[in-house]
Protein backbone atom coordinates (compact mmCIF):
# COMPACT_ATOMS: atom_id res chain seq x y z
CA UNK A 1 0.00 0.00 0.00
CA UNK A 2 2.69 2.45 0.98
CA UNK A 3 4.66 3.33 -2.12
CA UNK A 4 7.30 5.51 -0.51
CA UNK A 5 8.16 5.57 3.17
CA UNK A 6 7.24 8.88 4.76
CA UNK A 7 10.17 8.58 7.14
CA UNK A 8 13.70 9.84 6.58
CA UNK A 9 16.24 7.07 6.07
CA UNK A 10 17.75 7.32 9.56
CA UNK A 11 14.42 7.09 11.39
CA UNK A 12 14.41 4.85 14.44
CA UNK A 13 11.04 3.17 14.99
CA UNK A 14 10.35 2.89 18.69
CA UNK A 15 6.91 1.30 18.52
CA UNK A 16 6.19 -1.30 15.87
CA UNK A 17 2.96 -3.22 15.45
CA UNK A 18 2.18 -5.97 13.04
CA UNK A 19 -1.29 -7.27 12.15
CA UNK A 20 -2.88 -6.15 15.40
CA UNK A 21 -6.47 -7.21 15.92
CA UNK A 22 -8.28 -6.23 19.08
CA UNK A 23 -11.54 -7.44 20.54
CA UNK A 24 -13.93 -6.26 23.26
CA UNK A 25 -15.65 -9.56 23.94
CA UNK A 26 -17.02 -10.63 20.58
CA UNK A 27 -16.78 -7.16 19.04
CA UNK A 28 -13.70 -6.50 16.98
CA UNK A 29 -12.42 -2.97 17.49
CA UNK A 30 -9.18 -3.00 15.49
CA UNK A 31 -8.39 -4.76 12.23
CA UNK A 32 -4.92 -5.83 11.07
CA UNK A 33 -3.07 -2.72 12.06
CA UNK A 34 0.54 -2.64 11.01
CA UNK A 35 2.32 0.54 11.86
CA UNK A 36 5.79 1.81 12.78
CA UNK A 37 5.93 4.84 15.04
CA UNK A 38 9.13 6.87 14.91
CA UNK A 39 11.08 7.82 18.03
CA UNK A 40 11.43 11.37 19.31
CA UNK A 41 8.66 12.63 17.09
CA UNK A 42 5.05 13.56 17.67
CA UNK A 43 2.61 11.17 16.06
CA UNK A 44 -1.06 12.10 16.04
CA UNK A 45 -3.97 9.65 15.76
CA UNK A 46 -7.07 11.22 14.25
CA UNK A 47 -10.45 9.87 13.25
CA UNK A 48 -14.11 10.03 14.23
CA UNK A 49 -15.34 8.83 17.64
CA UNK A 50 -15.30 5.06 17.97
CA UNK A 51 -12.73 4.56 15.23
CA UNK A 52 -10.40 2.72 17.60
CA UNK A 53 -7.68 5.34 17.95
CA UNK A 54 -7.83 5.42 21.77
CA UNK A 55 -8.02 1.64 21.94
CA UNK A 56 -4.92 1.42 19.78
CA UNK A 57 -3.11 3.96 21.96
CA UNK A 58 -3.92 2.00 25.11
CA UNK A 59 -2.34 -1.11 23.61
CA UNK A 60 1.12 0.47 23.95
CA UNK A 61 1.05 0.52 27.76
CA UNK A 62 -1.31 -2.44 28.10
CA UNK A 63 -4.00 -0.31 29.73
CA UNK A 64 -6.60 -2.37 27.91
CA UNK A 65 -5.58 -5.26 30.17
CA UNK A 66 -7.56 -3.61 32.96
CA UNK A 67 -10.80 -4.07 31.01
CA UNK A 68 -12.11 -7.60 31.37
CA UNK A 69 -13.04 -9.57 28.27
CA UNK A 70 -10.55 -7.92 25.94
CA UNK A 71 -8.27 -9.87 23.61
CA UNK A 72 -5.36 -8.96 21.37
CA UNK A 73 -3.88 -10.70 18.35
CA UNK A 74 -0.73 -9.74 16.52
CA UNK A 75 2.63 -8.40 17.45
CA UNK A 76 3.38 -5.22 19.41
CA UNK A 77 6.99 -4.28 20.05
CA UNK A 78 8.56 -1.41 21.89
CA UNK A 79 12.26 -0.98 21.26
CA UNK A 80 12.17 -4.41 19.68
CA UNK A 81 10.69 -6.12 22.72
CA UNK A 82 7.41 -8.01 22.45
CA UNK A 83 5.32 -6.34 25.19
CA UNK A 84 2.57 -8.96 25.11
CA UNK A 85 4.93 -11.90 25.43
CA UNK A 86 4.23 -14.22 28.34
CA UNK A 87 6.13 -13.06 31.39
CA UNK A 88 6.67 -9.60 29.99
CA UNK A 89 6.88 -7.08 32.83
CA UNK A 90 3.93 -4.66 32.83
CA UNK A 91 5.38 -2.52 35.62
CA UNK A 92 8.61 -1.98 33.72
CA UNK A 93 6.65 -1.29 30.52
CA UNK A 94 4.53 1.39 32.17
CA UNK A 95 7.59 3.09 33.63
CA UNK A 96 8.88 3.46 30.10
CA UNK A 97 5.53 4.35 28.56
CA UNK A 98 3.74 7.16 30.40
CA UNK A 99 0.16 8.15 29.84
CA UNK A 100 -1.86 11.35 30.09
CA UNK A 101 -5.63 10.99 30.08
CA UNK A 102 -8.43 12.96 28.50
CA UNK A 103 -9.75 14.28 31.77
CA UNK A 104 -7.04 15.47 34.12
CA UNK A 105 -6.95 13.06 37.02
CA UNK A 106 -4.62 14.23 39.78
CA UNK A 107 -4.92 12.25 43.01
CA UNK A 108 -6.59 14.03 45.93
CA UNK A 109 -3.15 14.54 47.45
CA UNK A 110 -0.73 17.45 47.59
CA UNK A 111 0.97 18.67 44.42
CA UNK A 112 4.24 17.24 45.71
CA UNK A 113 2.76 13.84 46.53
CA UNK A 114 1.12 13.63 43.12
CA UNK A 115 4.41 14.01 41.29
CA UNK A 116 6.30 11.90 43.83
CA UNK A 117 3.75 9.07 43.63
CA UNK A 118 5.39 7.27 40.71
CA UNK A 119 8.98 7.43 42.02
CA UNK A 120 7.75 6.33 45.46
CA UNK A 121 5.96 3.21 44.25
CA UNK A 122 9.07 2.33 42.30
CA UNK A 123 11.16 2.51 45.45
CA UNK A 124 12.53 6.05 45.80
CA UNK A 125 11.92 7.29 49.35
CA UNK A 126 14.78 9.68 49.95
CA UNK A 127 13.17 13.08 50.55
CA UNK A 128 15.99 15.02 48.92
CA UNK A 129 15.97 12.83 45.85
CA UNK A 130 12.17 13.05 45.58
CA UNK A 131 12.29 16.83 45.88
CA UNK A 132 14.73 16.96 42.97
CA UNK A 133 12.57 14.72 40.81
CA UNK A 134 9.46 16.75 41.65
CA UNK A 135 11.14 20.04 40.82
CA UNK A 136 12.61 18.73 37.58
CA UNK A 137 9.32 17.23 36.46
CA UNK A 138 7.34 20.37 37.26
CA UNK A 139 9.87 22.54 35.42
CA UNK A 140 9.60 20.21 32.44
CA UNK A 141 5.82 20.44 32.44
CA UNK A 142 5.97 24.25 32.69
CA UNK A 143 4.12 24.30 35.99
CA UNK A 144 6.94 24.96 38.46
CA UNK A 145 6.68 28.75 38.54
CA UNK A 146 2.98 28.62 39.28
CA UNK A 147 3.13 26.06 42.09
CA UNK A 148 6.60 26.17 43.64
CA UNK A 149 5.31 28.08 46.69
CA UNK A 150 2.42 25.74 47.35
CA UNK A 151 3.68 22.25 46.73
CA UNK A 152 1.98 21.00 49.88
CA UNK A 153 -1.49 22.21 48.91
CA UNK A 154 -4.08 19.88 47.46
CA UNK A 155 -3.74 19.34 43.73
CA UNK A 156 -7.52 19.53 43.29
CA UNK A 157 -7.25 23.27 44.00
CA UNK A 158 -5.47 23.84 40.69
CA UNK A 159 -7.25 24.98 37.54
CA UNK A 160 -8.12 22.43 34.85
CA UNK A 161 -5.16 23.37 32.68
CA UNK A 162 -2.77 23.31 35.63
CA UNK A 163 -4.13 19.92 36.68
CA UNK A 164 -3.42 18.53 33.23
CA UNK A 165 0.14 19.86 33.29
CA UNK A 166 0.49 18.32 36.76
CA UNK A 167 -0.58 14.98 35.29
CA UNK A 168 2.10 15.39 32.63
CA UNK A 169 4.66 16.12 35.36
CA UNK A 170 3.47 13.04 37.24
CA UNK A 171 3.96 10.93 34.13
CA UNK A 172 7.42 12.42 33.48
CA UNK A 173 8.55 11.79 37.06
CA UNK A 174 9.03 8.05 36.51
CA UNK A 175 11.37 8.73 33.58
CA UNK A 176 9.51 7.40 30.55
CA UNK A 177 10.78 7.41 26.96
CA UNK A 178 7.34 7.40 25.44
CA UNK A 179 4.36 9.58 26.31
CA UNK A 180 0.86 8.52 25.30
CA UNK A 181 -1.69 11.31 25.35
CA UNK A 182 -5.36 10.55 25.00
CA UNK A 183 -7.01 13.81 23.93
CA UNK A 184 -5.13 15.69 26.64
CA UNK A 185 -6.63 19.09 25.83
CA UNK A 186 -10.17 18.21 24.85
CA UNK A 187 -11.60 19.24 28.23
CA UNK A 188 -9.65 22.49 28.44
CA UNK A 189 -10.31 26.09 27.47
CA UNK A 190 -8.47 27.49 24.41
CA UNK A 191 -5.80 29.26 26.44
CA UNK A 192 -4.94 26.14 28.47
CA UNK A 193 -5.00 24.12 25.25
CA UNK A 194 -2.34 26.37 23.73
CA UNK A 195 -0.18 25.89 26.82
CA UNK A 196 -0.45 22.11 26.55
CA UNK A 197 0.39 22.29 22.83
CA UNK A 198 3.41 24.49 23.54
CA UNK A 199 4.49 22.00 26.18
CA UNK A 200 4.25 19.12 23.70
CA UNK A 201 6.41 21.19 21.37
CA UNK A 202 9.04 21.51 24.10
CA UNK A 203 8.98 17.80 24.92
CA UNK A 204 9.11 16.55 21.34
CA UNK A 205 12.88 16.31 21.10
CA UNK A 206 13.25 14.19 24.21
CA UNK A 207 10.23 11.93 24.10
CA UNK A 208 8.38 9.79 21.64
CA UNK A 209 4.90 11.28 21.82
CA UNK A 210 1.74 9.66 20.53
CA UNK A 211 -1.33 11.83 20.84
CA UNK A 212 -4.95 11.02 20.14
CA UNK A 213 -6.93 14.07 19.17
CA UNK A 214 -10.33 15.02 17.90
CA UNK A 215 -9.09 18.35 16.83
CA UNK A 216 -7.57 18.28 13.35
CA UNK A 217 -6.06 21.75 13.63
CA UNK A 218 -4.30 20.51 16.72
CA UNK A 219 -2.92 17.50 14.90
CA UNK A 220 -1.75 19.77 12.09
CA UNK A 221 -0.14 22.21 14.54
CA UNK A 222 1.78 19.86 16.76
CA UNK A 223 2.49 16.56 15.04
CA UNK A 224 5.19 15.34 12.68
CA UNK A 225 3.19 12.32 11.54
CA UNK A 226 -0.51 11.69 11.42
CA UNK A 227 -2.45 8.46 11.28
CA UNK A 228 -6.08 8.46 10.22
CA UNK A 229 -8.28 5.69 11.63
CA UNK A 230 -11.74 4.78 10.48
CA UNK A 231 -13.95 2.01 11.85
CA UNK A 232 -11.05 0.10 13.35
CA UNK A 233 -8.84 0.31 10.28
CA UNK A 234 -5.70 2.35 9.77
CA UNK A 235 -6.63 4.21 6.59
CA UNK A 236 -3.56 6.35 6.11
CA UNK A 237 -0.34 7.13 7.92
CA UNK A 238 2.00 9.75 6.62
CA UNK A 239 3.90 12.93 7.36
CA UNK A 240 1.42 15.40 8.80
CA UNK A 241 2.09 17.90 6.04
CA UNK A 242 1.22 15.28 3.42
CA UNK A 243 -1.93 14.16 5.19
CA UNK A 244 -3.28 17.67 5.42
CA UNK A 245 -2.27 18.85 1.97
CA UNK A 246 -2.27 15.82 -0.28
CA UNK A 247 -4.01 12.86 1.34
CA UNK A 248 -3.69 9.69 -0.65
CA UNK A 249 -7.05 8.22 0.34
CA UNK A 250 -10.43 9.67 -0.46
CA UNK A 251 -11.71 8.84 3.06
CA UNK A 252 -8.90 10.84 4.65
CA UNK A 253 -9.64 13.81 2.46
CA UNK A 254 -13.33 13.66 3.27
CA UNK A 255 -12.58 13.58 6.98
CA UNK A 256 -10.03 16.38 7.11
CA UNK A 257 -12.13 18.63 4.95
CA UNK A 258 -15.01 18.07 7.34
CA UNK A 259 -17.31 16.16 5.05
CA UNK A 260 -17.94 13.62 7.79
CA UNK A 261 -16.88 12.94 11.32
Amino acid sequence: MVETSPFPADTEHVITTSKVNFFYGATQALFDITMDIPGRRVTAFIGPSGCGKSTFLRIFNRMNDTISGTRLEGDVRINGEDIYENGSNVVRLRRKVGMVFQKSNPFPKSIFDNVAYGPRIHGTHDRQQLAEIVEKSLIRSALWDEVKDRLETNALGLSGGQQQRLCIARALAVGPDILLMDEPASALDPKSTIRIEDLIGELRNEYTIVIVTHNMQQAARISDYTAFFYEGHLVEFNATKKIFTKPREKQTEDYITGRFG
Binding site: L93, R94, N105, F107, P108, R120
Partner: protein, 288 residues
Protein backbone atom coordinates in the same frame (compact mmCIF):
# COMPACT_ATOMS: atom_id res chain seq x y z
CA UNK B 1 -55.43 29.10 45.36
CA UNK B 2 -56.44 28.02 48.86
CA UNK B 3 -55.97 24.43 47.70
CA UNK B 4 -52.32 25.10 46.89
CA UNK B 5 -51.83 26.67 50.27
CA UNK B 6 -53.55 23.84 52.11
CA UNK B 7 -51.53 21.25 50.22
CA UNK B 8 -48.32 23.11 50.93
CA UNK B 9 -49.16 23.27 54.61
CA UNK B 10 -49.97 19.57 54.69
CA UNK B 11 -46.68 18.59 53.09
CA UNK B 12 -44.72 20.97 55.26
CA UNK B 13 -46.19 19.42 58.39
CA UNK B 14 -45.48 15.92 57.11
CA UNK B 15 -41.89 16.89 56.42
CA UNK B 16 -41.48 18.50 59.82
CA UNK B 17 -42.87 15.57 61.77
CA UNK B 18 -39.45 14.19 62.56
CA UNK B 19 -38.16 17.53 63.84
CA UNK B 20 -41.24 17.82 65.99
CA UNK B 21 -40.86 14.30 67.36
CA UNK B 22 -37.17 14.69 68.16
CA UNK B 23 -37.95 17.90 70.01
CA UNK B 24 -40.78 16.20 71.85
CA UNK B 25 -38.61 13.27 72.91
CA UNK B 26 -35.90 15.61 74.07
CA UNK B 27 -38.35 17.71 76.08
CA UNK B 28 -39.83 14.58 77.59
CA UNK B 29 -36.41 13.25 78.60
CA UNK B 30 -35.50 16.59 80.14
CA UNK B 31 -38.76 16.88 82.02
CA UNK B 32 -38.58 13.41 83.51
CA UNK B 33 -34.95 13.68 84.51
CA UNK B 34 -34.84 17.31 85.65
CA UNK B 35 -35.68 16.91 89.38
CA UNK B 36 -32.69 14.61 89.81
CA UNK B 37 -30.37 17.44 88.84
CA UNK B 38 -31.63 19.51 91.77
CA UNK B 39 -31.72 16.74 94.35
CA UNK B 40 -29.51 14.73 94.85
CA UNK B 41 -27.67 16.63 92.11
CA UNK B 42 -25.79 15.42 89.04
CA UNK B 43 -22.73 14.64 91.15
CA UNK B 44 -24.56 11.55 92.35
CA UNK B 45 -24.26 10.07 88.87
CA UNK B 46 -20.49 10.20 89.06
CA UNK B 47 -20.06 7.27 91.37
CA UNK B 48 -18.67 3.80 90.85
CA UNK B 49 -21.63 2.07 92.39
CA UNK B 50 -25.00 1.45 90.78
CA UNK B 51 -27.30 0.19 93.57
CA UNK B 52 -30.60 1.77 92.68
CA UNK B 53 -32.69 -0.26 95.13
CA UNK B 54 -31.46 -0.58 98.69
CA UNK B 55 -32.76 -0.49 102.23
CA UNK B 56 -29.54 1.08 103.43
CA UNK B 57 -28.12 3.54 100.91
CA UNK B 58 -29.02 3.85 97.24
CA UNK B 59 -26.27 4.60 94.73
CA UNK B 60 -26.92 6.00 91.25
CA UNK B 61 -23.38 6.02 89.90
CA UNK B 62 -23.36 5.42 86.20
CA UNK B 63 -19.58 5.19 85.81
CA UNK B 64 -19.55 1.40 85.76
CA UNK B 65 -22.28 1.43 83.13
CA UNK B 66 -20.39 3.93 81.00
CA UNK B 67 -17.20 1.87 81.20
CA UNK B 68 -19.26 -1.25 80.48
CA UNK B 69 -20.62 0.32 77.31
CA UNK B 70 -17.21 1.69 76.36
CA UNK B 71 -15.51 -1.68 76.91
CA UNK B 72 -18.03 -3.63 74.86
CA UNK B 73 -18.08 -1.02 72.09
CA UNK B 74 -14.30 -0.67 71.99
CA UNK B 75 -13.76 -4.43 71.83
CA UNK B 76 -16.39 -4.76 69.17
CA UNK B 77 -14.72 -2.07 67.05
CA UNK B 78 -11.41 -3.90 67.44
CA UNK B 79 -13.01 -6.78 65.53
CA UNK B 80 -15.35 -4.77 63.32
CA UNK B 81 -12.94 -2.27 61.78
CA UNK B 82 -10.36 -4.66 60.29
CA UNK B 83 -12.97 -7.22 59.24
CA UNK B 84 -15.24 -4.66 57.60
CA UNK B 85 -12.59 -2.56 55.91
CA UNK B 86 -10.73 -5.56 54.50
CA UNK B 87 -14.03 -7.13 53.47
CA UNK B 88 -15.17 -3.93 51.79
CA UNK B 89 -11.88 -3.65 49.90
CA UNK B 90 -12.26 -7.20 48.69
CA UNK B 91 -15.84 -6.77 47.56
CA UNK B 92 -15.28 -3.41 45.91
CA UNK B 93 -11.90 -3.94 44.29
CA UNK B 94 -10.88 -7.56 44.03
CA UNK B 95 -13.93 -9.82 43.94
CA UNK B 96 -15.14 -11.11 40.60
CA UNK B 97 -18.75 -10.25 39.71
CA UNK B 98 -19.78 -13.79 40.64
CA UNK B 99 -18.14 -13.58 44.06
CA UNK B 100 -19.82 -10.24 44.65
CA UNK B 101 -23.20 -11.73 43.75
CA UNK B 102 -22.66 -14.38 46.41
CA UNK B 103 -21.15 -12.20 49.15
CA UNK B 104 -23.50 -9.24 49.08
CA UNK B 105 -26.78 -11.06 49.79
CA UNK B 106 -25.19 -12.80 52.78
CA UNK B 107 -24.06 -9.50 54.23
CA UNK B 108 -27.54 -8.12 53.78
CA UNK B 109 -28.95 -11.26 55.37
CA UNK B 110 -26.71 -10.73 58.38
CA UNK B 111 -28.11 -7.23 58.74
CA UNK B 112 -31.66 -8.52 58.76
CA UNK B 113 -31.28 -11.01 61.63
CA UNK B 114 -33.21 -9.68 64.65
CA UNK B 115 -30.87 -8.86 67.50
CA UNK B 116 -32.78 -11.06 69.92
CA UNK B 117 -32.09 -14.05 67.66
CA UNK B 118 -28.42 -13.17 67.59
CA UNK B 119 -28.57 -12.84 71.37
CA UNK B 120 -30.02 -16.31 71.58
CA UNK B 121 -27.22 -17.65 69.42
CA UNK B 122 -24.73 -15.88 71.68
CA UNK B 123 -26.27 -17.35 74.80
CA UNK B 124 -26.40 -20.93 73.56
CA UNK B 125 -23.31 -21.16 71.34
CA UNK B 126 -20.87 -18.32 71.94
CA UNK B 127 -21.03 -18.05 75.74
CA UNK B 128 -20.24 -21.75 76.43
CA UNK B 129 -17.46 -21.56 73.87
CA UNK B 130 -15.83 -18.60 75.59
CA UNK B 131 -16.39 -20.16 79.00
CA UNK B 132 -14.54 -23.32 78.01
CA UNK B 133 -11.89 -21.56 75.95
CA UNK B 134 -10.75 -19.31 78.79
CA UNK B 135 -11.79 -21.56 81.67
CA UNK B 136 -14.17 -19.02 83.14
CA UNK B 137 -16.99 -19.38 85.64
CA UNK B 138 -19.40 -17.86 83.18
CA UNK B 139 -19.25 -17.21 79.46
CA UNK B 140 -21.37 -14.10 79.84
CA UNK B 141 -18.76 -11.41 79.39
CA UNK B 142 -17.86 -8.18 77.65
CA UNK B 143 -16.06 -10.22 75.01
CA UNK B 144 -19.14 -12.30 74.23
CA UNK B 145 -21.21 -9.14 73.84
CA UNK B 146 -18.55 -7.52 71.70
CA UNK B 147 -18.45 -10.50 69.36
CA UNK B 148 -22.20 -10.42 68.89
CA UNK B 149 -22.16 -6.67 68.34
CA UNK B 150 -19.49 -7.18 65.72
CA UNK B 151 -21.91 -9.36 63.80
CA UNK B 152 -24.43 -6.54 63.99
CA UNK B 153 -22.06 -3.73 63.05
CA UNK B 154 -20.33 -5.49 60.16
CA UNK B 155 -23.14 -5.14 57.60
CA UNK B 156 -23.46 -1.39 58.22
CA UNK B 157 -19.74 -0.67 58.17
CA UNK B 158 -18.96 -2.99 55.27
CA UNK B 159 -21.74 -1.64 53.06
CA UNK B 160 -20.96 2.02 53.71
CA UNK B 161 -17.21 1.48 53.35
CA UNK B 162 -17.80 -0.36 50.11
CA UNK B 163 -19.89 2.58 48.85
CA UNK B 164 -17.06 4.93 49.78
CA UNK B 165 -14.49 2.78 47.95
CA UNK B 166 -16.73 2.36 44.91
CA UNK B 167 -17.26 6.12 44.68
CA UNK B 168 -13.53 6.74 44.20
CA UNK B 169 -13.29 7.84 40.56
CA UNK B 170 -12.04 5.19 38.16
CA UNK B 171 -9.64 7.83 36.81
CA UNK B 172 -7.50 7.63 39.99
CA UNK B 173 -7.08 3.93 39.47
CA UNK B 174 -6.19 4.41 35.80
CA UNK B 175 -3.62 7.05 36.66
CA UNK B 176 -2.00 4.86 39.28
CA UNK B 177 -1.87 1.79 37.07
CA UNK B 178 -0.53 3.79 34.14
CA UNK B 179 2.40 4.81 36.37
CA UNK B 180 3.24 1.16 36.87
CA UNK B 181 1.65 0.65 40.31
CA UNK B 182 0.52 -2.84 41.23
CA UNK B 183 -3.10 -3.49 42.21
CA UNK B 184 -2.12 -3.61 45.87
CA UNK B 185 -0.19 -0.34 45.68
CA UNK B 186 -3.11 1.27 43.90
CA UNK B 187 -5.58 0.07 46.54
CA UNK B 188 -3.57 1.08 49.59
CA UNK B 189 -1.94 4.26 48.34
CA UNK B 190 -4.62 5.82 46.18
CA UNK B 191 -8.04 4.25 46.62
CA UNK B 192 -8.12 3.82 50.40
CA UNK B 193 -6.75 7.33 51.14
CA UNK B 194 -9.34 8.77 48.75
CA UNK B 195 -12.13 6.76 50.38
CA UNK B 196 -10.91 7.31 53.95
CA UNK B 197 -13.40 10.01 54.96
CA UNK B 198 -16.26 7.75 53.88
CA UNK B 199 -14.73 4.81 55.72
CA UNK B 200 -14.32 6.87 58.89
CA UNK B 201 -17.94 7.99 58.67
CA UNK B 202 -18.97 4.34 58.21
CA UNK B 203 -17.05 3.39 61.34
CA UNK B 204 -18.65 6.24 63.29
CA UNK B 205 -22.11 5.06 62.30
CA UNK B 206 -21.08 1.53 63.23
CA UNK B 207 -20.04 2.75 66.68
CA UNK B 208 -23.38 4.52 67.00
CA UNK B 209 -25.19 1.32 66.18
CA UNK B 210 -23.13 -0.74 68.62
CA UNK B 211 -23.43 1.69 71.51
CA UNK B 212 -27.19 1.87 71.13
CA UNK B 213 -27.76 -1.86 70.77
CA UNK B 214 -29.68 -3.31 73.68
CA UNK B 215 -31.19 -6.75 73.36
CA UNK B 216 -28.13 -8.83 72.50
CA UNK B 217 -25.92 -7.23 75.13
CA UNK B 218 -28.65 -7.61 77.71
CA UNK B 219 -28.67 -11.34 76.99
CA UNK B 220 -24.95 -12.12 76.90
CA UNK B 221 -22.88 -9.62 78.87
CA UNK B 222 -23.79 -10.90 82.31
CA UNK B 223 -25.22 -7.60 83.54
CA UNK B 224 -23.14 -7.07 86.61
CA UNK B 225 -22.54 -3.43 87.28
CA UNK B 226 -18.92 -3.55 88.26
CA UNK B 227 -16.23 -1.26 87.03
CA UNK B 228 -13.70 -3.24 85.04
CA UNK B 229 -11.61 -3.11 81.90
CA UNK B 230 -11.23 -6.87 81.61
CA UNK B 231 -12.77 -8.28 78.40
CA UNK B 232 -13.53 -11.56 80.15
CA UNK B 233 -15.47 -10.05 83.05
CA UNK B 234 -19.24 -9.68 83.01
CA UNK B 235 -20.27 -6.07 82.51
CA UNK B 236 -23.43 -4.07 82.25
CA UNK B 237 -24.03 -1.49 79.56
CA UNK B 238 -26.11 1.68 79.71
CA UNK B 239 -28.68 0.35 77.28
CA UNK B 240 -29.07 -2.97 79.06
CA UNK B 241 -29.61 -1.15 82.35
CA UNK B 242 -32.45 0.92 80.99
CA UNK B 243 -34.06 -2.07 79.29
CA UNK B 244 -33.78 -4.31 82.33
CA UNK B 245 -34.93 -1.86 84.97
CA UNK B 246 -37.40 0.49 83.33
CA UNK B 247 -40.19 -2.05 83.56
CA UNK B 248 -40.01 -2.43 87.31
CA UNK B 249 -39.00 0.97 88.55
CA UNK B 250 -41.52 2.99 90.52
CA UNK B 251 -42.74 5.91 88.48
CA UNK B 252 -41.14 9.25 89.32
CA UNK B 253 -38.64 7.85 91.83
CA UNK B 254 -34.97 8.82 91.90
CA UNK B 255 -34.16 5.48 90.30
CA UNK B 256 -36.61 6.30 87.49
CA UNK B 257 -34.99 9.69 86.96
CA UNK B 258 -31.50 8.21 87.01
CA UNK B 259 -32.50 5.86 84.19
CA UNK B 260 -33.57 8.89 82.21
CA UNK B 261 -30.18 10.44 82.78
CA UNK B 262 -28.58 7.32 81.33
CA UNK B 263 -30.82 7.80 78.31
CA UNK B 264 -29.71 11.40 77.99
CA UNK B 265 -26.04 10.46 78.16
CA UNK B 266 -26.59 7.84 75.43
CA UNK B 267 -28.43 10.36 73.30
CA UNK B 268 -25.59 12.84 73.70
CA UNK B 269 -22.96 10.26 72.74
CA UNK B 270 -24.76 9.07 69.60
CA UNK B 271 -25.55 12.67 68.66
CA UNK B 272 -21.89 13.63 68.91
CA UNK B 273 -20.84 10.59 66.88
CA UNK B 274 -23.32 11.49 64.16
CA UNK B 275 -22.18 15.08 64.07
CA UNK B 276 -18.54 14.00 63.73
CA UNK B 277 -19.44 11.57 60.94
CA UNK B 278 -21.38 14.28 59.09
CA UNK B 279 -18.59 16.80 59.54
CA UNK B 280 -16.06 14.37 58.10
CA UNK B 281 -18.28 13.65 55.11
CA UNK B 282 -18.98 17.31 54.40
CA UNK B 283 -15.40 18.37 54.92
CA UNK B 284 -14.14 15.92 52.31
CA UNK B 285 -16.93 16.69 49.87
CA UNK B 286 -18.60 13.30 50.16
CA UNK B 287 -21.86 14.88 51.26
CA UNK B 288 -23.41 18.26 50.59
Amino acid sequence: MWKDKAMRLLMLSAASTSIFLVALIFIFLMKESAPFALKPGLGALIDRQWIPVSFVQEHFGILSLVTGSALVTGLSMLFTIPLSVLGAIYIAEIASPVEREILKPFIELLASIPSVVLGFFGLVVLAPLIKNLFGLGTGLSALTGAMLLTLMAIPTVITLSEDAIMSVPRAYKDASQALGASDLQTIFQVIIPAALPGIIAAIMLGVGRVIGETMAVLMVTGNSAIMTWSPLAPVRTMTATIAAEMGEVSFGSLHYQALFWIGLVLLAVTFILNVIAQRVLVRYGMMK
